[in-house]
Amino acid sequence: MRKGQIIFLLFSIAILLFGLNLILGPVTIPLRTLFNLLKGGNVDDLSNNIVFQIRFPQTLTAIFAGAGLATAGLLMQTLFRNPLAGPDVLGITSGAGLGVAVITMFTGAWIVYMPQLGVVSLILSAMAGAMVVLLTILALSQRIKDNAMLLIIGLMMGYISSAIVGVLTVYSTAENLQAFTLWGLGTFSAVSWDRMNWFAGVTIVALVMAMLLPKPLNMLLMGERYASNLGLRVERARFIVLFCAGLLTAVVTAFCGPIAFIGVATPHITRLAIGGSDHRILLPANMLIGASVALFCNLIARMPGVEGALPINAVTSLMGAPIVIWVVLTRNKRKYL
């Protein structure tokens, strides 16, 4: 298949899933009603509310979160040349968790249950925690030349954050703990229209930045020495890749909570789908597949007939973990990331 055809096919799949996400759910919106709504026609308030106030922002959130995490995962796998690297290897996700833990457990759960203020405080604290870790990693990356060491430090940062969270839980009330646990389940429905600008804005900027990186990423895939010999300023490229992946992880985790597995698993699906590792096609295809995976998971989580929604993290893990297992089992046969 030609490059354009693949992208078109993946785009169509994403659009289809986008439509299904608007239609399906605890209440099914008939296709005709949906078209009427989109045309601005006269439709009952309930359908209008469900589609525009609930499903539309949720679907957009899933798209950006999926594309963002998949891209962050791909960048990390390429930079570290490690098939099991993902958005969380730098400890950014855990850092966000620490931020949330501090706010819920010190100020008390009341803040989380406050309408408006609650979500904003969660997002801000998660973002703060994630940025602290990201900036630390970026600063260290200037001094540490070896990628493997950087990977280890990222993982250790994650452990430290998780450990502090563990200590905090001892001193927190059951109520606060529940608020934190709730955040840990992940959700695509915390981004309402008034916050969408920020979420979508930052994500799109970082995604566009990633789209500009296929050449350095292809070179990095050969290893740092070869990349340098092909004219790449490796340290600068590494900084940009880390920044881009870190920003995507931070913003998605801040707005949606820690979403597991999409970042690690999607690049593998994409490489299989396009049959190669050339980032010129891998990057856009991976974004589309990441968005589709998130949309699909969101669909499953709100399956008609399910009382309430399943936690999104449970769905992504149930889908992602088998993929990672498959990657490990077939790695020797395929001989690439």
Partner: protein
């Protein structure tokens, strides 16, 4: 101006950290000319890789200076070096789902724009690099489907696509079988002759070095580096001295190393040709000294004919006729134990 593609002035190589500097070699004055194939040999840990990395600009030089195209390597940026020196390294590749063509096209990256888009001219150069390495039939195959030798050729094609006057290869024949090793060295030799490239290769393969290299650089820890035509270095005894260690002998007739066992008895081989050569080989391996003359304790006579027999005679042994080298060795050992 000099005719050297690459030369060094009292170069010192090694590693330095904040307060400490570890110099492996100092005062190196080396040169690589166009059309020259240089093999660098030395025991493991001699500093071969460090020298290669320094000359390719991967690690900083510690003292003195090195020049590529008459420009100090210290003033050259990655982009400059990428158009002057191409490398083939020992690193494991993680891009095995790239096709040969995709890999070779990466060699054009120093010349392409922001997104790495290839022009028709680039495509022609890629085609040529693939043809020069004899990979035309493999160009759409994935690297994971290639043999080790073909993979090395693909890496060499990538280096060719870089269109650099200098190529540096770190042990390109290390994991290859004998025909593969010869093929790669022959290819490099052709590139020096037909493309006027200056090529520097590290290797442990003395046989191929003696066959293909214009110059040999010998490097070892704590020794001054020696450079020259391989034959000169061999006759001057340098090759032997650089690799000498307990139990290893260098045979300057064959250009091969062999193990130095304690030779017990001197044996004279009476016979000619290929059979005699391999009898000698078998005796040496088993600790006998086959260099004896007619005063030796034991003679082994190889009878002529289609199925030669090996007749053991000697002053203190009774005559035995054996039909294979294996049984001959058996008899000799039995005799030894008595």
């Amino acid at each position: 101006m000099s005719t050297n593609l690459l030369y060094t002035n009292d170069l010192g190589i090694g590693y330095s950290e904040k307060n400490s500097q570890k110099l492996l070699h100092r005062h190196l004055n080396l040169a690589l000319k166009p059309g020259e194939l240089i093999c660098m040999m030395g025991p493991n840990g001699a500093g071969k890789s460090t020298l290669l990395k320094t000359l390719a600009g991967f690690i900083p030089l510690q003292e003195g200076n090195a020049f590529i195209n008459d420009q100090s390597i210290m003033t050259l940026k990655e982009k400059d070096i990428s158009q002057m020196v191409s490398v083939v390294l020992t690193e494991k590749l993680t891009i095995e789902d790239f096709t040969v063509r995709q890999l070779v096209s990466l060699g054009r990256y120093p010349y392409t724009g922001f997104f790495g888009r290839l022009t028709d001219e680039d495509q022609k150069i890629i085609d040529l690099a693939i043809a020069d390495t004899g990979l035309e039939l493999f160009s759409d195959r994935k690297l994971s489907q290639l043999s080790d030798g073909e993979k090395q050729k693909a890496m060499i094609a990538k280096a060719l696509a870089q269109e650099t006057p200098i190529m540096i290869l770190d042990e390109p024949t290390a994991f290859l079988d004998l025909p593969g090793r010869i093929e790669i060295m022959r290819l490099l030799r052709q590139l020096t002759v037909h493309k006027n490239k200056g090529i520097l290769v590290t290797t442990h393969d003395l046989e191929q070095t003696l066959r293909f290299a214009d110059k040999l650089w010998l490097i070892a820890q704590g020794k001054e580096m020696v450079c020259g035509a391989p034959e000169d270095l061999l006759l001057q005894g340098y090759i032997e001295s650089f690799f000498a260690r307990e139990g290893i002998l260098f045979d300057s007739h064959t250009g091969c190393f062999r193990s130095d066992e304690d030779y017990s008895e001197r044996i004279q081989i009476i016979g000619k040709g290929i059979t005699s050569y391999w009898v000698k080989n078998a005796l040496e391996r088993n600790g006998f000294n086959p260099g004896g003359n007619n005063k030796a304790d034991i003679q082994i006579e190889i009878t002529s004919g289609e199925d030669p027999e090996f007749v053991i005679t000697g002053t203190h042994v009774k005559e035995v006729r054996t039909s294979s080298i294996e049984s001959m060795l058996h008899e000799l050992k039995k005799n030894n134990n008595n």
